[in-house]
Symmetry: C2
Subunit: 535 residues, 2 copies
């Protein structure tokens, strides 16, 4: 635990002297001491943390093992825990504790000063949003999600129009709690990625698009690599065991984690000692379980790596959605889709699936798992076109929030945007604007940019780690991840939220977020794979 530091110049008193008693009397007259207020604040935060963690257990169970009949009660139980946590967090007494502590932040231990800063940020946001709004938005989110689970397979966008219109209204209402702002999406973006704005994201995206569109075009002009062998039949148990074996070797600690099956893979944390991942398995696709396991393991290693002293406070977790995503992407893509990685692991995979892959050479396998193509579905897309999918969604949600695009015109705008950006358009809405849960379950705005921020940062962090330790690719080729994992832990993981994301990035990499390493990574990797002329 981040303990209070005593000034070394002040002698410690072990017995309660007359002086101590007099000071205690003075303190009593002035109200509780900063120490007492801080201790009370931490107690309150720990209780909120435990309520949220209990809620996370319920959510994990709901997505993994819960029988269908458990759903109605589970909704009630989860809502109750959320409400109890929220009530405690917006308690005015918590705000008053912050008021008392903030003027003294300079005298506190650095971790405690960070705590005050982060709790103030979260608290100030929370108290701006009325409980009535939270309940209304949450109820609408559940109803909309349920409608979407039926509407997507039925390709019925019309059914979602009224839901989406309400979601949009709720989004505008939410933004208004944080007025004034430069752009209506700014409050949502700042929730996920502290310090980012619509304008900064748009600048990044413009830079990326200028490079990615010609890169994707140059690649797609080449003959596509053979990849049919990835879709042979691969036993579920063997797939799960292989992926988990790799994750463990990367540094995912199974004494403090586990892997279960679900429909939509996720990582969840119940405590520093219990960070779980989930995956799904397709028996006719060797990549699905493997890469989603390693993706979630990236998130999990981040959470497992946070300094244990920060547990139970808002400092004890990943610093932002974008930095979190950088870790899933780093391990899934930069590491586990690299040539050195498979130099070590491919023989083991071939032994596991001898009949299916025994005759497939390493190079062919490596090209296949890095196949670039103009595809319809974001979650199935490759590293090069993935960001184009994201940018489309980001542009469209800005247009919706600004009122430039009407909900009913979304499908057509989607098709036009896909053609312009990715170069292919869906023939139906199921594979178009109905494909992602985000707008139908939660809200519009503030979620998609984190994926691309994650991609950008994954390369920036990996480049910095490799600058510091040039042997990292060599280690990976020998099946070792220790140096990389240690660098990430030291430079990112252990800090939790003690510094803002921009500061974490700058300290770890020596510069602010920049697209250069990511573009260099893509150009280098795909230039080689597709034998492109120098771009």
């Amino acid at each position: 635990m981040a303990g209070k530091r005593r000034s070394p110049t002040r002698p410690q008193r072990r017995r309660k002297s007359g002086g101590t008693r007099r000071r205690a009397a003075v303190r009593a007259a002035r109200g509780p001491s900063a120490d007492a207020i801080l201790a009370d604040l931490k107690r309150r935060l720990a209780e909120i943390y435990d309520l949220n963690s209990a809620g996370a257990v319920l959510g994990w169970d709901e997505a993994t093992y819960m029988p269908a009949g458990g759903a109605p009660a589970r909704g009630r139980q989860s809502a109750l825990l959320r409400r109890l946590a929220h009530e405690r967090f917006v308690d005015p007494a918590l705000g008053r504790a912050l008021d008392r502590l903030e003027p003294q932040a300079g005298k506190l231990a650095p971790a405690d000063a960070s705590l005050i800063r982060v709790v103030r940020r979260d608290h100030a946001k929370s108290v701006k949003v009325p409980a009535e709004y939270v309940a209304r938005a949450s109820a609408h989110g559940s109803a909309s999600y349920n409608a979407w689970t039926a509407a997507r397979p039925a390709n019925d966008f019309a059914a979602m129009i009224p839901f989406l219109e309400t979601t949009l209204e709720l989004g505008r209402e939410y933004a208004a709690f944080f007025a004034p702002y430069d752009h209506i999406a700014d409050p949502m973006i700042d929730d996920a990625d502290e310090g980012m704005t619509t304008a900064t994201v748009q600048r990044l995206f413009t830079e990326l698009r200028k490079e990615l569109v010609p890169l994707a075009r140059a690649i797609c002009d080449q003959p596509p690599p053979e990849d049919a062998f990835l879709r042979r039949t691969f036993g579920e148990a063997e797939q799960l065991a292989f992926g988990l074996g790799v994750a463990r070797q990367m540094g995912y600690d199974l004494a403090r984690g586990r892997l279960d099956k679900t429909h939509h893979p996720f990582c969840t944390k119940f405590a520093a000692g219990d960070v779980r991942i989930t995956t799904r398995v397709r028996e006719n696709d060797i990549g699905d379980a493997l890469f989603s396991t390693l993706h979630e393991a990236g998130h999990a290693m981040y959470e497992q790596g946070v300094d244990a002293a920060l547990e139970g406070t808002p400092l004890g977790s990943g610093v932002s959605a974008g930095v979190h995503e950088s870790q899933s992407r780093l391990w899934e893509n930069v590491v586990a889709r690299s040539r050195p990685f498979w130099e070590h692991w491919y023989p083991a995979l071939q032994r596991t699936f001898a009949a299916q892959l025994g005759a497939v050479p390493l190079d062919a396998f490596h090209r296949a798992i890095n196949k670039v193509e103009r595809s319809l579905i974001r979650t199935d897309s490759d590293e090069v076109t993935y960001n184009l999918h994201i940018m489309l969604r980001f542009d469209l949600e800005l247009a919706l929030l600004e009122g430039r695009l009407r909900v009913k015109d979304l499908p057509e705008a989607w098709r036009a945007g896909m053609l312009a950006g990715v170069g292919v358009a869906p023939s139906n809405d199921r594979d178009g604007c109905l494909q992602d849960v985000h707008w139908y379950g939660g809200g519009i705005g503030g979620a998609f940019q984190s994926y691309t921020i994650g991609n950008i940062l994954s390369a920036q962090f990996f480049a910095a780690a490799t600058r510091a330790h040039p042997d990292i690719p060599g280690e990976i080729a020998r099946g070792r991840f220790t140096t990389l994992h240690r660098w990430l832990t030291d430079n990112i993981y252990r800090h939790g939220r003690t510094a803002p994301p921009g500061e974490i990035v700058a300290r770890a990499t020596g510069s602010a977020m920049t697209t250069a390493p990511y573009l260099a990574y893509l150009r280098g990797k795909y230039g080689t794979l597709y034998r492109l002329p120098a771009l």
Copy 2:
């Protein structure tokens, strides 16, 4: 939901007339109406129920899937949910609501009148126990349990003496909250089995012992049946699937339940729609997983059968520990160790384990799973000697509570009691007085009697069901359980806690609890199996 009934003699008004408004004004002057108080009470109870259910999910996860690293935080999270539920239940406002409602109980719907009675009983008990005691006892229970998990394998009773002495002190302190009482164990027994006392349990046990000791002796004078084939190697997946298939056929609804593996099998309920069972599997023992699955399925069918209208209130669960145990024993023993049951299921079991059981005749299998022997471990013991193990524990805990037996003398008293009752004594404490968790994890007194009450009632209920529907054994021999399951649902399950256990028993069977059907069942079954002369 148990709705309020309007008096049929009073015309219903559908529009708000002037008269209604006037009455509303009168009510406002007198404070909230009984309806409003009842609605508020139910809201409070539902929140307590949801907190307890959330805690049950955490407990289930802890016992099934939680990685070791999750333990410290899980302890905190569970304790927090327990505390929040407890605080809400002992809230004086809840007591005042009961004060207001009790005089009007005669005018309430029967289910609401039952609710007031049961909540008063539970509330009156809860408020007598100070929060400080609950926290202290709970912390001691955890510490003692942890010590026991090390002391039992090490055969180290000395290490447990100080824990057990504190446990005993806590037990006496607990009883004192409910003074005056006839016997110091009465308050604990009444917690588990409403209406039972030390004196009534002792009378039952004396009756049983008089019959069981000679019955066990007569059986053990016979040559034991061959049962080595039960300990061949049986695949885990097949064992689990077979047991769950039988449980489902018995009536355990898997849309509202599921089976997972654990160390110590249990049944847990998160909602009417989510009642789960757990089992353990020994690959060298075909009986362990099977009978523990069916045992827990018996508990689960009881909970699944409670009238859904009672969900979210203290009425919505089994009525007492003893009646609950009667259902696990009825399905596990009376049904699933019977000859008719195996006439249907044995061919299927033989197909599943052809190499292991293909050559073993039905009669030999049936005799083997009903083998009676003087054994050391309660949980492995047979139907005849099981109760002798229970009586020893019950006698010893009375002696400890009364101060007739010192903790340090427990091992010797255990050995003497085993010799006198079961006819065999352990050479070490691991297989002696250290074998059961009860005294080391929770408390001394009030738990063991429920097992024997369950055995007695299992036969009494089955006899009553068979009197009403003489074809039940025939149906079981055809693999059908519908009539039995329906009779149990109608006569026991659906009532939840709406009537006290004694009333449930009397209404279902036509008499108070009696040992006669149980003794007749044992004499009949084992007389035939062991070809005993008429006893």
